[in-house]
């Protein structure tokens, strides 16, 4: 596994998407807050400037008569009232200083700090700097910054003569508490907004991640645990995830179909190999067997021999005949000379089997819809029907039911034999059509093998379905070569369905 260089690379989408959305929300909130704070701070400064300039101008008008009449006390009461004005913005320019024509303090709202008669320029470096900004070109400055102070000035003019100046002073440091208050308020609003937005965004982000996680979880089970994958819970939306789900479902079905095919091919190949083995062995056994039986027959015909020899020969003959029967059963052969099957053949078979079923108190339900002989070898089709019916008769419990159906459908002869007896377990279904597969049970162990061989030779189709309460064998035999199912050689194996 190559080293993961990206810090979040290995994290599940379950966390990655919500984390990214959260980060984005926080980022946006912080950006909005910063923008609001910046705007508010600017607004605060603009308010301060506008208010201070207009206050300075209003005071300058008021101060005209007091400056002319040298009325320090009334001027003092005005500037004190102005400095304490409740209508001022949260940060206001105080103190207020009124200077005379020589730049001396006529009166100030803080007389101990800015005493009457002191030169404005002597009050400190900021004041000296402010005093220095004026006079060079004669122009009046309304707003000036010096050091950490802001100066707002308005001249007191009477009849065109400048007799003094009103100066309002704000400390930029005084703005900081106001800025901090704005930041505090904005932070509270941001945090409240985040408290609402974050759970919502987390929730929606999780909703986005969940289908992907479900899909990833389902995909991780491919190909080992195909049957464990539940596709019902997967998202079936109209978006790309929905497309992905549908593609995944299609892929899953394709994989299952392929696996089924492979299983059938394997079963088919195994049965074919068994068939070849059985045929080869039967051939090899039949040759010496025929010779041995001929020799016994010849020996008898020529007479003679003692009693013991005759008894021994009889024993040998019975044994060899049994072997021939068994080999003949293994080697199922089609005889082209056989006559076509007709309705009477079906009736014969049913007549033969009926007592077997009645013996167990069961009943036979028949649906035979075959009116005229059809071009299929009668002996072999009878054999198929007989074997299937005998198996069904054995399978049912007392009072059980066997249902048989023979009908012509789309150029096929369809044979259905079904019973409600013990069902065939799944592990037995795998080897159901092999010889002696059900060894130990009643019967020869060759019945279904013979059925399979015959259906194969007639190029038909054989399926079995078995679940509790229902076991169904279905045989479809083509009535002509043209209607033979277009299947590959691999597919010629019994389809096994179990539940």
């Amino acid at each position: 596994m190559k080293p993961n260089l990206r810090p979040l690379g290995g994290l599940s989408l379950r966390y990655k998407i919500p984390l990214r959305v959260t980060a984005l929300v926080v980022l946006v909130a912080v950006a909005v807050t910063v923008a609001i704070v910046a705007r508010q701070a600017q607004q605060t400064r603009e308010d301060l400037d506008a208010y201070s300039v207009s206050l300075a101008r209003a005071l300058a008008n008021t101060m005209r008569s007091y400056l002319r009449h040298d009325d320090v006390w009334r001027a003092y009461e005005i500037v004190v009232a102005a400095a304490a004005d409740a209508g001022a913005p949260s940060v206001s320019a105080t103190p207020v200083i009124v200077t005379d024509a020589e730049g001396r303090v006529f009166v100030s709202s803080r007389p101990r700090e800015f005493p009457v008669g002191a030169r404005l320029a002597d009050l400190g470096p900021d004041f000296a700097a402010f005093a220095g900004t004026r006079g060079s070109d004669g122009a009046e400055r309304t707003v000036a910054a010096a050091g950490d102070r802001l100066f707002y000035a308005a001249p007191v003019v009477v009849d065109g003569v400048r007799i003094g100046e009103v100066v309002l002073i704000a400390s930029t440091a005084a703005l900081w508490p106001r800025y901090m208050e704005i930041v505090r308020q904005a932070t509270i609003v941001t945090v409240l907004t985040l408290l609402i937005l974050l759970p919502a965004s987390w929730f929606w982000a999780r909703r986005t991640a969940v289908p992907l996680i479900a899909l990833a979880g389902a995909m991780s089970k491919v190909p080992a645990k195909l049957d464990d994958i539940g596709t019902e819970a997967l998202p079936d939306t109209g978006d790309e995830i929905g497309h992905l789900t549908r593609a995944f479902r299609d892929m899953l079905q394709e994989l299952k179909r392929k696996r089924e095919l492979e299983e059938r091919v394997i079963a088919s190949e195994r049965l074919a190999a068994i068939g070849r083995l059985a045929a080869g062995m039967a051939h090899e056994i039949n040759n010496p067997l025929g010779g041995m039986l001929n020799a016994i027959s010849t020996y008898r015909r020529h007479g003679g021999g003692d009693d013991l020899a005759l008894r021994t020969l009889a024993l040998l003959e019975r044994g060899l005949t049994q072997i021939r029967g068994l080999v003949g059963a293994l080697l199922v052969e089609t005889r082209d000379s056989d006559r076509p099957i007709g309705p009477e053949d079906i009736g014969d078979v049913l007549l033969l089997v009926a007592p077997e079923i009645e013996r167990k108190g069961g009943h036979l339900v028949r649906h035979v819809m075959l009116d005229v002989p059809r071009p299929l070898p009668a002996r072999q089709v009878r054999q198929v029907l007989l074997n299937l019916l005998l198996n069904a008769a054995h399978a049912i419990e007392r009072g059980g039911c066997v249902r048989v159906e023979v009908a012509e459908r789309n150029d096929f002869l369809a044979i259905r034999v079904q019973n409600d007896g013990r069902h065939i377990s799944e592990d037995k279904l795998q080897y159901l059509f092999e010889p002696f597969a059900l060894a130990g049970a009643e019967g020869s162990g060759l019945g279904l093998w013979i059925v399979y061989q015959i259906v194969q030779q007639l190029r038909g189709d054989l399926t079995v379905e078995s679940r509790p309460g229902l076991t169904l064998f279905a045989v479809d035999l083509p009535l002509s070569a043209a209607t033979e199912r277009p299947r590959s050689k691999d597919e010629r194996s019994p389809a096994v369905v179990s539940d």
Binding site: D70, D71, V72, W73, R74, Y76, V107, P111, R112, P115, V116, G117
Partner: protein, 271 residues
């Protein structure tokens, strides 16, 4: 209907009494109306001069003014009564500084900013000028700057808040304000007290009728003899009103003459 035809008695009040004590003036007016059986109106203005001019012009009947304008215009005015403060019809001027100020006399305030109460006040203007002249100083050049607050109480404020480093104030008003606004007065300190002068008098316009004069004098003189009047006097921190002679204000007249002499000598020196 008869009352409607009766002319009201108009009484001017200057800053010799804390003019912002509207409630006290209201009670005093009610009491006077009861005594005089006439409507009474108190008239206040922003400076001594306006009240003095009104009584001189006969626009008001009586006025409580300072001894200084009284002696200046005594031929146009009739002396009605003088208040009794601490048992005597006398008061004095205080020179005050801020409580954290180490200066100990008026002469220490040279080159500083000084607050006078009113150019027509004895305690708040004439006396400190006279004290400087007596000490051979020029009262118009002694301070770097001086200004009028137009009321004694405001002198206390000007000194307490640092607008001026020193001030001259009516001792009676100072003590009265000390009980009404102890926090304000605590920020100041008295560094010099003047000799005793005649307490600011109540005067009448010169053409007042004998009947009105007598009625008003009796009303003032009777204040200490009824419960309501005594309660009012207690609030004003006075003991009553008594008949006063011109001679009570002779010291003020003396200082006024000295001040005039100083001014004319300086004018001569300049020319």
């Amino acid at each position: 209907m008869i009352r409607a035809r009766v002319r009201e008695v108009r009484i001017g009040v200057t800053a010799v009494f804390p003019e912002d004590q509207v409630g006290m003036l209201h009670l005093w007016r009610n009491w006077l109306e009861d005594r005089l059986r006439r409507p009474v109106a108190f008239v206040t203005r922003s400076s001594y001069r306006e009240i003095v001019d009104m009584v001189r012009a006969g626009q008001i009947d009586f006025a409580w003014i300072c001894g200084y304008p009284y002696v200046r215009y005594q031929r146009e005015l009739r002396l009605v009564a003088a208040p009794l403060w601490q048992g005597r019809p006398l008061y004095r001027s205080y020179i005050i500084v801020a409580s954290d100020d180490a200066r100990s006399s008026l002469l220490d305030l040279e080159g500083r900013v000084f607050a006078y109460s009113d150019p027509d006040s004895n305690s708040g203007y004439l006396y400190p000028r006279h004290a400087l002249i007596s000490a051979a100083r020029d009262p118009d050049a002694f301070f770097r700057r001086s200004f009028f607050t137009w009321a004694h109480r405001q002198v206390v404020r000007a000194v307490a808040e640092g607008v001026a480093q020193g001030g001259a104030v009516d001792g009676y008003v100072y003590e009265l304000v000390a009980t009404l606004e102890p926090k304000l007065v605590a920020r100041t300190r008295v560094i010099q007290r003047s000799p005793w002068f005649g307490h600011p008098p109540v005067v009448a316009r010169h053409d007042i009728s004998a009947e009105e004069f007598r009625a008003f004098f009796q009303a003032l003189a009777m204040m200490s003899s009824d419960e309501q009047g005594r309660s009012l006097l207690r609030a004003m921190q006075l003991d009553g009103f008594v008949h006063a002679e011109q001679s009570l204000y002779s010291q003020i007249a003396e200082m006024m003459r000295a001040d005039a002499a100083f001014r004319s000598s300086r004018r001569l020196a300049k020319s």
